[in-house]
């Protein structure tokens, strides 16, 4: 028995699907094949912005082995993940909007034939002026990327909470600066893959039901969008999610190939599988946008924040995607980490002729958090305060509702800060390490699922069904999408804990829309909290029936029935303790399930009153007494947690927030500009760690991904062409470059989470980038306001500090970089020279004209 009084919860256990992954037996979408399956290949646009004048597929069509070719006209219905952003079509209609946009698809008997056919499709384009920089794009009057979006602004929001001007007037010190975080992508190991197959009516040959296997985080949304584009009822579409090789948000919306495969299968009347090449994965993108943050913070002498003003411009790429949500998260999650009494937020999501950005781990919050936590450090340095103290004086006092309407109940941030300070030796070492070596601190937080779903409705966000058979086998049906984060394992654990049965009894059937009830999917860290709560409710419903039958059999009150470790007993009986331990060896569950069927069981039933029974006996008693043993649970966030009524107020609220504090130790080579991260201490408040191994894995993985964004990862563009579309050029840290990451789990036990659990998979990422930047400042005294902190940028900052002439060191890598570097000097907007809404004033425009990008 574990110390916390649970039998399955809180124990470090292997994922229920681990063996399938280590033996290679587990099937991902690209591992599947069907008889007569065709290979789909997509023709991509070579232009960043062009009108399609004509597509001629006649030469390709006659190639031996080509079965079908589809273009935009074959599926012109618009879709998009957000109801406000239906601006995509499966294949381009009239216009292409980025290099890599989808133009046509060939379904052929082999990859070679399909590739060859792509070369035979003749497309006539009329190139249009293209926009690559968001601030330039906002000046556009003509040749708009989407006609319905003037100035190429997808969406802008202007929020005022409290009285920001009064707050700044009260401040003893006001700090302002511009921070830039460049574009990064998920680069999940599994390239997107989709297999689509229509059943054919054997008599008429007409198309019947559609089955789609896809690498997706959101089976339900995909089913919904397929229905929209193909004009099929959702009930005629079966969506199955096989194993998914990582998502990080890149599979949390409908990716073009998922629709294209179905459209091609419809045309070919045969199963079609499309798997992206790595380059195509980079084009599909939906990653974290390049974000320009102009941040102004007013503080009292002791570091207490009086007011924050934040302007965010996001380079969103060619389609809306999750953009509206991203720009709202950037503003909303300024709140709920610290106590900020006054906030002004101006957010602009801008369209450019590059692949669409979308949701990526820490959706919308990461780049603003980098700016905010860096600024906290700058303020601490200016006021000669300990950065840890500055954070402490700004802590929230929960339970509370923040000025922008976010409800906070559990709040483990204070303990997280204490833990990393103690473990890293912060007090003795910060500011006292030898030159070239330093410590930096930062905090972050994230939602445990969005309190409002994308499609506004009152339906539950998660539903879970359970059935138990006579041999005690428990089958759980959940729509939650396992993507490697452990959602199946979490579901099994919660059900096993509630029912008091062994974990291996529980079989999870997940993410098959014919079998499993609706779940919104794996995004915004919602699964443990929402699907977990639904699983708990379903298990409790079943348990009620088992308990009442067991109470009848044991002739005791239902309250006296205990269920634990595959054993059911009357808690008043004296033998229960020994029996509990005896049943430990049965806890594995595969032992005696089968033999208890039939006559053996009947004999036992006739033995008369007893004080304890096995799980199987109790199940049989319950089925005999109640009939089929099934249960359903669902979860919808409470109304109190759904946020304010202001426009855009639906994004940001969550039933619970996770908290993270981190300290990074780095050294900087002043000759080469190279940063080495030696160690990161990361404390994460996950409410309760249902499975500590999984929580540690999520936290360490988040920190590591933040490390990549801080030091190396960056999508480099030239005139809309991605210069590094491969895992070799888009560098992420290898094991040789990855530091020790010490994960400290803090359990604040949330009152509404399942067993107190909340988010673990994303919240830690955002703190890593500023922690490293702050550590670089501690090491060599330069402030990096543009991520990633590449050797070029470090050297440029070091030279600037010494008053040396700036050299455009990044030119060889990225011709657009020098222009970006020139933007470092802070925003005119904050010097009072521009209007509050986005600056289109002449002074700024002329500054840009001389800057002259593209």
């Amino acid at each position: 028995m574990s110390g916390n009084g649970f039998s399955v919860i809180g124990k470090p256990i292997a994922m229920v699907d681990a063996a399938g992954k280590t033996t290679g037996a587990g099937k991902y979408t690209d591992d599947l094949s069907l008889p007569g399956m065709l290979v789909g290949k997509i023709l991509h646009s070579p232009y960043p912005h062009a009108r399609i004048k004509h597509i001629d597929t006649s030469r390709a069509k006659v190639l031996d082995g080509v079965v079908a070719i589809v273009t935009g006209e074959d599926a012109p219905n618009r879709y998009g993940i957000l109801p406000v952003g239906h601006d995509e079509t499966a294949l381009a209609v009239e216009k292409v909007r980025y290099i890599g946009d989808n133009v046509a698809c060939v379904a052929a008997i082999s990859e070679e034939v399909a590739e060859q056919a792509l070369g035979l499709i003749d497309v006539e384009y009329e190139p249009l002026p293209a926009f690559f920089d968001p601030e330039e794009s906002m000046k556009a009057e003509t040749d708009l990327i989407h006609e319905h979006r003037p100035h190429n602004v997808e969406k802008d929001y202007h929020h005022v909470f409290g009285d920001p001007e009064k707050g700044f007037a009260e401040a003893d010190y006001v700090h302002e600066a511009r921070y830039i975080a460049n574009e990064v992508t998920h680069a999940a190991m599994e390239p997107h893959s989709t297999l689509a197959n229509f059943e054919l009516d054997p008599y008429t040959g007409k198309l019947g039901r559609l089955t789609v296997w896809s690498s997706t985080q959101v089976p339900y949304y995909l089913q919904h969008k397929l229905s929209l584009v193909l004009e099929l009822p959702m009930s005629q579409i079966r969506l199955i999610k096989p194993l998914v090789g990582g998502g990080f948000g890149g599979k949390s919306e409908v990716i073009p190939l998922e629709i294209i495969a179905a459209v091609a299968a419809r045309a070919a009347k045969a199963p079609v599988k499309i798997t992206y090449t790595r380059e195509e994965v980079f084009w599909a993108h939906r990653g974290r946008p390049r974000t320009i943050v102009d941040l102004k913070t007013g503080v009292k002498k002791d570091g207490r924040v009086t007011s924050v003003a934040c302007q965010v411009i996001q380079d969103g790429g060619a389609y809306c995607s999750y953009g509206v949500v991203t720009i709202l998260y950037s503003g909303a999650l300024l709140g709920a980490l610290y106590d900020i009494p006054n906030i002004r937020y101006d957010g602009y999501r801008v369209l450019t002729n590059k692949p669409a950005c979308g949701a990526m781990r820490g959706h919308g919050t990461v780049n603003v958090r980098f700016a905010f936590e860096s600024q906290m450090d700058e303020i601490a340095a200016k006021l000669n305060l300990d950065p840890a103290e500055v954070r402490r004086v700004n802590l929230l006092k929960p339970p509370t509702v923040t000025v922008n309407g976010l409800r906070v109940l559990s709040y483990g941030l204070p303990e997280c800060i204490d833990q990393v300070i103690t473990r890293s030796g912060w007090r003795e070492r910060h500011g006292h390490l030898p030159k070239g070596r330093g410590l930096g601190m930062a905090c972050s937080h994230y939602v445990s699922g969005a309190a409002n779903s994308i499609i506004r409705s009152d339906m539950p966000h998660s539903t879970v069904n359970i059935k138990i058979d006579r041999d005690g086998g428990v089958v759980v049906y959940t729509g939650a999408a396992e993507i490697g984060q452990g959602s199946d394992t979490m579901t099994a654990q919660i059900v096993a804990e509630v029912l008091g049965c062994g974990l291996s009894r529980v079989k999870v059937v997940a993410a098959d829309t014919d079998l499993t009830p609706i779940d919104l999917g794996s995004y915004s860290s919602r699964v443990t909290f929402m699907s977990g709560n639904a699983a708990m409710q379903a298990a409790e419903e079943v348990k009620k029936n088992i308990v009442s039958a067991a109470a009848r059999t044991m002739n005791c009150a239902p309250e006296d029935v205990n269920m634990r470790d595959d054993h059911v007993w009357d808690r008043r009986s004296t033998t229960s303790d020994t029996d509990t331990t005896l049943s430990e060896d049965r806890a594995s569950g595969h032992v005696d399930g089968q033999i208890l069927r039939g006559s053996v069981l009947q004999t036992r039933k006739q033995e008369g009153l007893k004080t304890h029974m096995s799980f199987e006996e109790a199940v049989v008693a319950a089925i005999d007494f109640h009939g089929a043993l099934t249960g359903t649970g669902s979860y919808a966030p409470p109304v109190e947690a759904r946020g304010g009524k202001h426009k855009g107020g639906g994004v940001g609220p969550s039933p619970a927030y996770s908290y993270s504090a981190q300290v990074a130790e780095v050294s900087v080579d002043e000759d080469t500009g190279e940063v080495t991260v030696h160690k990161i201490w990361a404390a994460h408040d996950c409410g309760r760690a249902l499975n500590p191994v999984a929580v540690e894995g999520q936290v360490i993985g988040s920190v590591w991904m933040g490390l990549g964004q801080a030091l190396e990862e960056e999508m480099i563009w030239k005139d809309g062409l991605l210069m590094n579309p491969g895992l070799l050029e888009y560098r992420s840290p290898s094991s040789a470059e990855s530091p020790d990451i010490e994960c400290i789990i803090v359990e604040s036990v949330d009152p509404e989470g399942p067993f107190g659990a909340k988010e673990a998979g994303e919240g830690s990422l955002a703190a890593t980038i500023p922690a490293i930047s702050n550590a670089i400042y501690d090491a060599v005294g330069v402030r990096l306001r543009e991520a990633p902190f590449t050797p070029e940028r470090i050297l440029a900052a070091l030279r600037a500090k010494k008053g040396m002439k700036r050299i455009a060191m990044t030119e060889s890598v990225d011709p657009t970089a020098p222009v970006r570097l020139r933007e470092h000097g802070g925003s005119l907007w904050f010097r009072g020279k521009g209007p509050l809404r986005h600056p289109l004033d002449p002074a700024r425009r002329s500054a840009h004209a001389t800057g002259g990008e593209q």
């Binding site: 280590t22 290679g24 190991m189 490697g484 999984a694 894995g697 920190v703 590591w704 990855s738």
Partner: protein
Amino acid sequence: MKKELIELRVNGRTHELAVEPNKLLLDVLRQDLNLTGSKRACDDSSCGACTVQVDGIPMLSCTMLAASCEGQEITTVEGVADHGALAALQKAYGDFGGSQCGFCTPGFMMTVRWLLANNPEPTEDEIREALSSNLCRCTGYTQMYQAVRAAIAADEKGLKHELVETK
């Protein structure tokens, strides 16, 4: 391209196959032999997800011609299991969280298996260096080091057990 007959020995079994001379080993394994454990993830031999062992040496099957492997002993992740049960390394990767989404795991299995066969007591740095040939986007590698250590410990324990039994 015209197909040719080759004999390929994979996981201890010999297969006679008709393949194009330009067909990659990874494609033959995945498409002709339906051994889908080895994964394609990068297209430019930078990620290691397709790693198999050829005569005991970890090789990237996405950049090898199948025909060039005739007469050599190929081991894929499907051949790692120990008499049908999980090898110590496989179990340890599961127990210690060395595998999350699992897409890179087959490649890591082949790399670590080679490491432990050639260096039964690797130092921390040697483990890091060996693993750096493979990319993982989920784990941050930390839990993999624990898994490798646990696998070594389990193997040692098993070895001692065998020695006692033979005595």
